[in-house]
Amino acid sequence: MNLTLRIWRQTGPEDKGRMVTYPVEDISPDMSFLEMLDVLNERLTLAGEEPVAFDHDCREGICGMCGMMINGNAHGPQRGTTACQLHMRQFTDGETIDIEPWRARAFPVVKDLVVNRTAFDQIIAGGGFVTAPTGSAPEAHAAPVAKADADAAFESAACIGCGACVAACPNGSGMLFTAAKVTQLSLLPQGQPERYTRVIGMVDSHDDAGFGGCTNAGECTVVCPKGIPLHTIGRLNRDYLAATVKHTGRS
């Protein structure tokens, strides 16, 4: 496959940045998207040019490091897939592919396609944890959890924090991430004591980090590589309402 790539190049946080066109040849359709970028980077390195910086780690779709806007789609055209698990067979020979970093005030560009997602850590620091030491995995019968709750909590816990939800959101909101991190704890017994302070703390941290507000547009759930459902945000809303109306959110 021969492709034309238009990639966002930005030397550092202060640089203005621009789209630069690179032709790439002899790409195998069985390569992953990141392997295709590796091929480009090898060529750039041999030519003495600066390779394209992009985040990646496990390349198995479970670490949440990789992530880029591919033709205006977070993680590319295939649903339920991270950029590292996306294969070049999803594209056609001769195609022009636009590659951009996540765009959000809360995710400043470090270099090229690498963004700083510290803002997600700030949301977690706002309450996305259980304070009491819970020890190692408890014996399964010690604290019974309803199957439906366990399933829903697990569904939320599948979030890898890649940031695609923010990148795709027309409002630049990180509410799907926040909701996933709230509900994975609020549905389980260990999360109950801090349930309502948690939701207030995390939503406040979310807003302070410079994310936009959720308008239930539903973009996030479409691009989420882990398929976190939109109604997760409803669970957050319900906890938030309970916390504010009953003042149970004040510790």
Partner: protein, 210 residues
């Protein structure tokens, strides 16, 4: 957004049901309009109920605008650098037209009040004969009024479709079945209300009401 929106939705339902009185005859319609002013008497002086309702609606509207403006400004500041290549939003058409749709509806409401409440833009403009005002308004030769009305109601329908669904979500709808139900409910509600509003001008246009 959700709470102020629901207040406005309650008004929309009442307003639509009132409009449908046009099918039970001119006298009925005019009597209904008069009754609205008479409502609450003798506890309230004549016409006060309507002013109270207008006041409440204005508060809800102001809150709705305020929340929408805050959300829009936050969205703008949350993405200072735009995408060079951005696919059309994959979510619903209704969701991505909420803001401009809302502006269209607001402009229409201003026109609508000048037309059928104060009568300034109405060919009859007689507050004592509301039915005659409506019939004159949607006469075939004033097709552009009917067209604008239709477009505004369509915008309202889209606004309600996402608005009603989104309001239920904001108020804590949280299960997959609930989401499906909320979507269907919002769609049915939006269609029902749009049809309810549109039958009046089209009945006049087709000469079913005169």
């Amino acid at each position: 957004m959700a709470v102020t929106g629901l207040v406005l939705v309650l008004f929309l339902v009442a307003h639509m049901l009132g409009n449908l009185k046009i099918f039970t005859g001119a006298e009925d319609f005019d009597h209904y309009a008069h009754w609205l002013r008479d409502l609450g008497t003798p506890l309230l002086p004549y016409g006060w109920y309507l002013w109270l309702q207008r006041g409440a609606l204005l508060v809800a509207l102001a809150g709705h605008f305020w929340a929408a403006t805050v959300l829009a400004l936050r969205a703008r500041s949350a993405r200072p650098v735009r995408y060079a290549h951005r696919k059309k939003v994959q979510g619903s058409y209704a969701a991505r037209t909420m803001r401009w749709g809302g502006v269209i509806i607001a402009l229409f409401v201003i026109y609508h009040i000048l037309d059928l409440t104060t009568g300034h833009l109405n060919p009859v403009g007689d507050p004592t004969r509301p039915q005659a005002n409506v019939v004159a308004d949607f006469a075939p030769e004033r097709w552009y009024v009917t067209l604008f009305y239709t477009l505004a109601v369509a915008a309202l329908g889209f606004h309600l479709r996402h608005g009603a669904y989104s309001a239920l979500r904001s108020l804590g709808q949280q299960t997959p079945q609930g989401e499906r139900r909320a979507r269907v409910l919002a769609l049915l509600f939006a269609v029902a209300l749009s049809v309810g509003y549109l039958v009046v001008p089209f009945a006049v246009l087709l000469g079913l009401v005169s």
